[in-house]
Amino acid sequence: MSALIDGRAAAPLVNASRFRAAHEGEWDRLDQLVTRMEKRSVRALSEDDILALPLLYRSALSSLSVARETSLDRALVIYLEQLCTRAYFQLYGVPDTATRQLGRFFARDWPLSIQLLWRETLICLILTVAGVVAGWWLVATDPSWYYSIIPDAMSGGRDPSASAETLRATIYGPQEDGGLATFAAYLFTHNSQVAIFAFSLGFAFTVPTVLLLVYNGLTLGAMLCLFATKGLGLNFLGWLTIHGSTEMFAIILAGAAGMKIGTAVAFPGREARTQAAVIAGRSAAIAMAGVVLMLLVAGLLEGIGRQTVQSDAMRYGIGLAALAGWLTYYYLPRHREDRDALAA
């Protein structure tokens, strides 16, 4: 076929070859540094490496721009794209250390995210109270409603046919089969899962969340009415308050967080719809982390505290003190130098 030419000792034929020869060392070094950061952390680098990192990163970025414009070597462009992407995430996208994140969560993010939910919290509170009133009214007018509101498994013998003595025993009786801590752990995990579920259901335009809250109020109202008609209303309220002040508050907040994301998607306001969803989603998620912690406290109070503390006054005292504590933590004014950091 055609003649062969001898290309030995000639200058490189294409830009990519020259370019590779000039910069491959830098790319290699950046690759090594980024790999070390990915495998361990930025602390694995020496001071020299850390000083060199931004320079290497920028030179790789400019290599990428040049390669895209002047070279047809696809492998080179793809390699540089991947290298720059990895370096970008190591330089710009790395989260804070765990301790700093935790500190900020307790000091600022948690209470602030709850404060941002105040409107939804109020609505959820009203919904729950409406549920309680409705539940009470229904059972007061016709006790047979009780059976349709509260499933058999949940009532555990607490129904209108039970005598006052049986009901009293459910409030003050000793825990059936020991295992207070197990009971607490069960309550915590179960309630938290339900709360997370209620939160995520909020995405469906909050309808399921509202239903859950109202139903929650209905059961409470029905039970209250049942115990009140047997003359045990205040005792039952004490039995409930010790953990219920925390637990109901947490459930209302979970509903509020779900409502926040649902309404943000449905009514984005001035923001673009996705942007509104992101702002609401991120702050509501922080509130949810707080709710899970609240339910941990509630689980401990319910599983252990309620069974060991038998006097009404103590039960009311602990429950109301817990409520006061939460309210102070959340709503006490605090200086908010960078409130927008939550949404960022």
Binding site: R8, N15, L72, D73, F89, P95, T182, T189, S200
Partner: protein
Amino acid sequence: MRWRRNRAPKAPASLRRSFITPEGVDLRLELASAGTRASAFMLDILILFISLIFATIAIGLLGIAGASGEIFLILWLVGAFVLRNGWFILFEMGGRGATPGKRLLGLRVIARDGGRLTGGAVIARNALREIEVFLPLSFLGMQAAQGAADGFLTLFALCWTGIFLFFPLFNRDRLRVGDLLAGTWVVNNVRAKLGADLVAARAEQPRRVFTDAALDLYGIYELQTLENVLRAGQDDAIATVAATIRRKAGLPDDGDDYGFLADYYAALCIRLERAMLVGRRREDKHGTVGRR
């Protein structure tokens, strides 16, 4: 068929997204496909289940051996809760931004705005998994438990929850409901080696020369396809491509397919690059040949 002609040519659905760094360079991130995402999730669930089963067995054995079974029951309850909710959250909050399943498949979660991946975002995108995965599963479980008693209701429920489950397929950015709400997306983040310089590899030895007519056959797109063929190094593909080029250019077969293709690649690369540097970029073989 007038309506068909009027329709604008549809660009192929690409998963590349423009992503401009503060330095002003577009990184052109590649989003993970729905299939890869699903496989990563399956992997994670598999690892989760296996660790849960092993933990259960270990706790069961310890509970039988020791008298204080209560501690282990608590451990199990809390451990299962933490595994179910914490697995994704804790791993994604770490520096790698990926669960083990995602890491195995070379994926990474990032904030869509290019900022840091905050704890709030990670919690949001994973808490929403409850309605994406758990809700459909619970309806399926209900169906299994009740038989076909509420057939239509279950069907309706499945359709409703299916919206959340298959949400990534309904938008072009492959966002889950959780991604939408957390402002995140999942990108391919693999570590690649720099491939060898194909032109320089041929520069050190005698090369074939080609006529202008032979080199005018193709553009940049075909050049890069040829590069892929050469790098993949599959014999039958190389033989097919070499035969095609020889036929089009009217060249005789000299028995060395790889050498021929490598030389043709180098010559075409040099020619197209020179044209490109003086502003005559030829995207593909349909593009006009630069005037001489």
